[in-house]
Symmetry: C2
Subunit: 159 residues, 2 copies
DNA sequence: ATTGTTCGTTCGCCATACGAATGAGCGTGT
DNA sequence: ACACGCTCATTCGTATGGCGAACGAACAAT
């Protein structure tokens, strides 16, 4: 055991599955008039507003890239910048009402489609797959780029 | 069973794992002076040369997008266009020697990094994960965007 | 107050992606 | 043979994405 063939199976499985998910994600976004990046931004912000720096960390983007992504998404009226009274350098990015509505339907539809990808697996295997991927994801500290159902349903949005 | 929570686990597991793999892929590409798309192109061509139309299907790109990707990659001397004597409309895209060398090292390094992602899993779980992902991938007819080790070791590359 | 740091934006540059329009080459039908 | 329609790939225009460097504003420390 421990043969190269099996290990490579995991590797190319992961890479090809990622390709597949990307395709589905992009197509879903497209149908709602979103780019994949804008869709991802909405999904991240579903959980809570973020400061630009945090967001850059979550999305793994350079700050200049993020400024422009937020610009374009804000131009479409989906997100807004709020200033932090504590520190006037900080900008908090939050969903607008329209953005929240769109995020909901985009998220739901994307979930539906991604779920279909594993529809061919028996129930037990799907759970196993979820558990194993969950392990990989948490081992590698992947930020919450896509909400789990029960996460933070509009918590603090004061000021 | 069949609760929403478990099913969502698979969905967000897949989406987050895809995000993770993308990050790793992009970073690996970057270190070899490649964009992720160019890296992917090289990986696809490792198996064999492709015509533009086929390649568009494999990479899921519009043909104009592909023309330009091949342009840029060819400018870097990594791929070349060959004309098909059977049908002079057809362009076959193949790796140059430099491209093949770079593809080899990029592929190897990317494999290494992706494999590390699942390094925290016990051997048996890794095999299970590979098997389940393999099932998802084949159920959804994902093209060979990333080679398996034993695939097509430099077949026909004449003239 | 001056300095250093953090924060976000701006700017220039290149890569990505698409649709529409274009033109080259193939095949069929008559 | 030649005109038509089809497929192939490219070109063009537009929008987006992504980065690093440079910048200015606001905080923090002395």
């Amino acid at each position: 055991m421990g043969k190269a063939a099996e290990e490579l199976g995991v590797v190319s499985g992961l890479v090809r599955a990622a390709f597949l998910v990307n395709s589905v994600y992009a197509e879903s976004a497209r149908e709602y008039g979103l780019t994949p990046q804008q869709g991802q931004l909405l999904c991240v912000l579903m959980a809570q507003p973020y400061g630009m720096s945090e967001l850059g960390g979550v999305l793994r983007l350079a700050k200049s890239s993020l400024t422009e992504l937020v610009d374009r998404t804000a131009q479409r009226g989906l997100v807004k910048r709020e200033s932090d009274p504590r520190d006037r350098r900080v900008v908090r990015v939050a969903l607008t009402e329209r953005g929240a509505e769109l995020a909901d339907v985009f998220y739901a539809e994307t979930c539906r489609r991604v779920e279909e990808l594993s529809a061919g697996l028996p129930e037990g295997d799907r759970e196993t797959l979820g558990a194993l991927l969950g392990r990989v994801v948490s081992d590698n500290r992947v930020p919450a780029v896509f909400p789990e159902r029960d996460e933070a349903p509009v918590a603090a949005r004061d000021n």
